[in-house]
Symmetry: C2
Subunit: 213 residues, 2 copies
């Protein structure tokens, strides 16, 4: 029987190895040769799936997005309400696999300012993440739909900025951010944001301003 290779699966496999290699050696040192070696393939085999390192990086970014999307949109246990803290914790570097994803992202951010092609890739990925987190907040906060669009956008920016900050801080100083501390600090952030949006957000004032325009 001829050997059947699942091409999509092998692309994912190489992309995930690339993610590990970037996390371990940094963005520039993650060459196709090194990625191939770590994956146990020849460079020629990898070239069969990807023409350039940039293609591998894009595949790795998409793979991580898919993995995070899968974890953030899973149905709640036993049909209950989705637990927002548990959902968002999935995006934090709380274990080895998630640390690798976050270290890859941090390495990528560190390279974006210096690379025009990465900038446009990043802005597409960024929009996808914002939509994903918005859906996640809308699921996790029953009162989300009662907040004004302005309040929703501020809440979304606040939560995503905080998650990005925890990602970069933990990747740079892992000793300062054991998993329990990351989760506790995220819990505090979500509770502060929720209190503000429920009680202090200037929705009334904004609505009046909009009505007058």
């Amino acid at each position: 029987m001829p050997k059947i290779v699942d091409h999509a699966r092998r692309r994912d496999e190489i992309a995930f190895v690339a993610c590990r290699v970037v996390a371990k050696y940094g963005f520039e040192q993650a060459t196709i040769v090194r990625i191939a070696r770590e994956a146990g393939y020849t460079t020629g085999m990898v070239a069969h799936y990807f023409d350039t390192k940039q293609e591998i990086v894009i595949a790795a970014l998409r793979l991580i997005l898919r993995r995070i999307e899968h974890r953030l949109t899973r149905p709640p246990d036993a049909g209950g309400e989705p637990d927002l803290l548990a959902l968002l914790t999935e995006a934090l570097p709380i274990d080895a696999a998630r640390f690798t994803e976050c270290a890859f992202w941090t390495a990528f951010w560190g390279q974006v300012a210096a690379d025009k092609r990465l900038k446009s890739i990043n802005s597409r990925m960024h929009r996808a993440y914002m939509q994903l987190f918005e859906r996640c907040l809308a699921r996790g906060w029953p009162q989300w739909s009662r907040w004004s669009p302005e309040t929703q956008q501020r809440v979304l920016r606040s939560v995503v900025t905080f998650l990005n900050g925890l990602t970069a801080s933990t990747v740079a100083s892992p000793g300062d951010w054991p998993a329990a501390r990351q989760i506790e600090q995220l819990r505090l952030h979500l509770s502060m944001v929720e209190t503000w949006a429920d009680h202090a957000a200037p929705d009334g004032a904004e609505k009046r301003v909009r009505a007058r325009r």
Copy 2:
């Protein structure tokens, strides 16, 4: 008359060029040759001040810390209370010079996980920044000294994580974060943290637990 060169000043000058070069070309592409060229010096001249690229990077990190420290600890205008939002805004990428500093930091974070020597440099710098921001919050919030040490640490971690998140988010997606939006989102964060620390922090419960130990 012999030409008198201020060595400390020239080291700073080269370190600042290094910061610009890292922000522009990325961490790995910022070679001594490139830094020397951008500074208008020969490689030999730069080697007179720094033995390795790592030394230049450390000098650049120290220079940025000194600059931010200078801006964050300046006396308030006209003898009034220091304005915390205005102070902390100094650490954000709100203009070209500060964007360069933040892009340098983001590039550095992106490299830390892959480089053991950078890890120990980072942990020293990280402690210095935490102390600087702690002094800044203690100056800017009159009620700081009334908060328990646990509340102070949570507030400090929340503010620094948020600043790091704004730094990384803006460097990666500058179009999404014009200066006014960064400042508005930081203002919101400070106000949420303050409300929580003044009213909702479980200090009483914590103090009772500590007393029983």
